[in-house]
């Protein structure tokens, strides 16, 4: 007890340095978590989180029975998996290819340029989409009409929404996503390359049989983390890309929560929808981690 107290006073300054962060997390992470209970309550602003009356699973039942339920759930899952399947391998391939470049200057130029879109805001990204895909003045449509086709209103087409979302996401994030793999590649022991050389491996063989296995642990970890985010699709980009014409394909859980919660002030209902989303997401993360541990030796924990 005495010793403990002395340790506390000796290391007191460590706690002072930690305190602001702790306060922020208690206020803005754990207090809202406590507030999740309103999903099971009839929230009333005067009564607050604690005193509002319980009503059980009322809001969940309402959500599951609403005509929106299947639409937003399926849109969320398909958009997310589409993004994962199309988007995940690209940074790996980019890193493997960059690693083979001997000219340091060229490599650095490609890196600098492909990182750039990561620093662009989503407002600007969606702005670029609307400029390039404009049916009237857009460059893509100019190309299509020059080749004899008809101009299309891409952003107003529900069928194309998901492809545009995923492709623009690759454009924005592939370069940045390659960084972590490049770091892992630089950690591969040179003796492996020497051994491969002696065995007569060419560059392509080395890429497939030395580089790829070398970064496999990183790939698995990042895959788990990405699978663990499938229900947490970024709200902003979908929201910015939404218009009345593509809504059947672009309404996802998080945009639905925003509309119900912030715009219509149905606080309890939208918290219930959000909680459903969060729990499904957590289950998927745990399942992915477990699966990874079974089929490979790598996992988050």
């Amino acid at each position: 007890m005495r010793k403990g107290r002395r340790a506390l006073s000796v290391n007191g300054q460590l706690y002072v340095l930690l305190l602001p962060t702790l306060i922020l997390f208690l206020l803005f992470r754990y207090w809202p978590m406590y507030g999740i209970q309103i999903a099971f309550k009839d929230y009333n602003a005067f009564l607050g989180f604690t005193k509002s009356p319980w009503i059980g699973f009322f809001h969940f039942k309402r959500f599951f029975n609403s005509y929106q339920f299947w639409k937003v759930l399926i849109n969320t899952i398909t958009l997310s998996f589409f993004q994962l399947i199309a988007g995940f391998p690209i940074p790996v391939i980019l890193a493997l290819m960059l690693h083979q470049v001997d000219n340091k200057r060229y490599k650095s130029i490609v890196q600098t340029v492909t990182y750039a879109p990561h620093f662009i805001s989503l407002v600007v990204l969606v702005g670029l989409l609307s400029i390039f895909l404009s049916p009237r003045t857009g460059l893509i449509n100019a190309l299509i009409t020059a080749l004899g086709g008809d101009a299309k209103y891409f952003l107003g087409n529900a069928k194309l929404f998901k492809s545009i979302y995923v492709i623009s996401g690759i454009w924005q994030n592939a370069g940045w996503g390659a960084i972590v793999y490049l770091a892992a590649l630089s950690g591969i022991s040179p003796t492996l390359y020497e051994a491969a050389e002696i065995d007569g491996a060419n560059r392509f063989h080395r890429m497939i049989h030395v580089d790829l296995p070398g970064i496999l642990p990183t790939i698995v970890i990042l895959l788990i983390l990405n699978v663990g985010k499938v229900m947490k699709l970024g709200f902003e980009k979908v929201f910015l890309m939404q218009n009345p014409l593509n809504l059947s394909s672009s309404e996802i859980i998080s945009t639905y929560v925003y509309k119900m919660g912030i715009l219509e002030a149905q606080f309890s209902f939208s918290t219930a929808v959000d909680l459903f989303n969060g729990i499904v997401n957590l289950i998927i993360l745990l399942a992915a981690n477990r699966l990874a541990r079974k089929i490979s030796e790598y996992s988050l924990w």
């Binding site: 290391n11 300054q13 460590l14 340095l17 930690l18 962060t21 922020l24 997390f25 206020l27 803005f28 754990y30 207090w31 809202p32 978590m33 507030g35 309103i38 989180f49 980019l94 290819m97 960059l98 060229y106 890196q111 600098t112 340029v113 492909t114 750039a116 879109p117 620093f119 805001s121 989503l122 407002v123 600007v124 702005g127 670029l128 609307s130 400029i131 390039f132 009237r136 003045t137 100019a142 454009w171 370069g175 960084i179 490049l182 892992a184 950690g187 560059r203 642990p217 990183t218 902003e236 910015l240 998080s254 929560v257 919660g261 912030i262 606080f267 939208s270 959000d274 969060g278 993360l285």
Partner: protein
Amino acid sequence: MSNLGNKSGYDRVFNIVNNAILAVALLLVLYPLYYILIASISDPVSVAEGKVIFLPDKVTFEGYARIFRDNTIILGYANTIVYTVIGVFLGVAFTAGAAFSLSRKELKFRKTILALLTFTMFFQGGLIPTYLVVRKLGMINTMWSFLLPSAVWVYNIFIMRTFFTVSVPEELYEASMIDGCSQFRYFFSILIPLSKAIISVMVLFYGMAVWNMFFQPMIYLTEESKFPLQLILRNIILESNIGGDAVLDADTVLKKIRISELLKFTVIIVSIVPPLVVYPFLQKHFTQGSLSGSVKG
């Protein structure tokens, strides 16, 4: 042909193909940005007619001139700079303090605190409870509503903590303590000056996040005079808001459309230039900021 010659022949072809594919990727990323740049200094009619593809046409700086006369854009820009400076300061200071604290084994409840922080990466209270807390704290329509909840990222704490444990020798801490140095003094006068590289990456990460922030200011800010640049941008680029100071003096509808088309390009350039100019200088530190060390283990 010897086996060796065959192999180097393969390798040459491989290199050519590899470099060519990367060159295509490079162009695909670069061209849209280049297009916006040349469109921003071209006559909007030429742009609309598709005459601006490789080079600007009928060069004009009218768009930029109008931006500097537009009070909404200037105010938005000024707001964003203020928010970014404050957000970066809070983020870096708190993250560094927490990371140092959590890198010391003497810290009691270290494992518990780490677990509590990590948990928030995978599960959150969600949009509405957070909104209600911010409202309860009286922060609506202030910058604190969007700066404080996301001021510190757990991920960044881990990056800095890894840096402090891996790149700064433990002997340094021990020697300082023996010399009677306090933990504050060690932190501010020894650790921080040694960590310039990682701190500059943190400045970039936090700065970029605040600079590009859109959703939180949108839901929390009610007064237009407090809007950051991204909210103004959205009105100009996506809502095709014809109006505002910059086009007020245009006499015809056609001229208004012309100018607002031009403004779309110029505001994009003006808003993306600051982050795009800064990051190449910090590029060599990015791998440290990618948490690669801990992902590998």
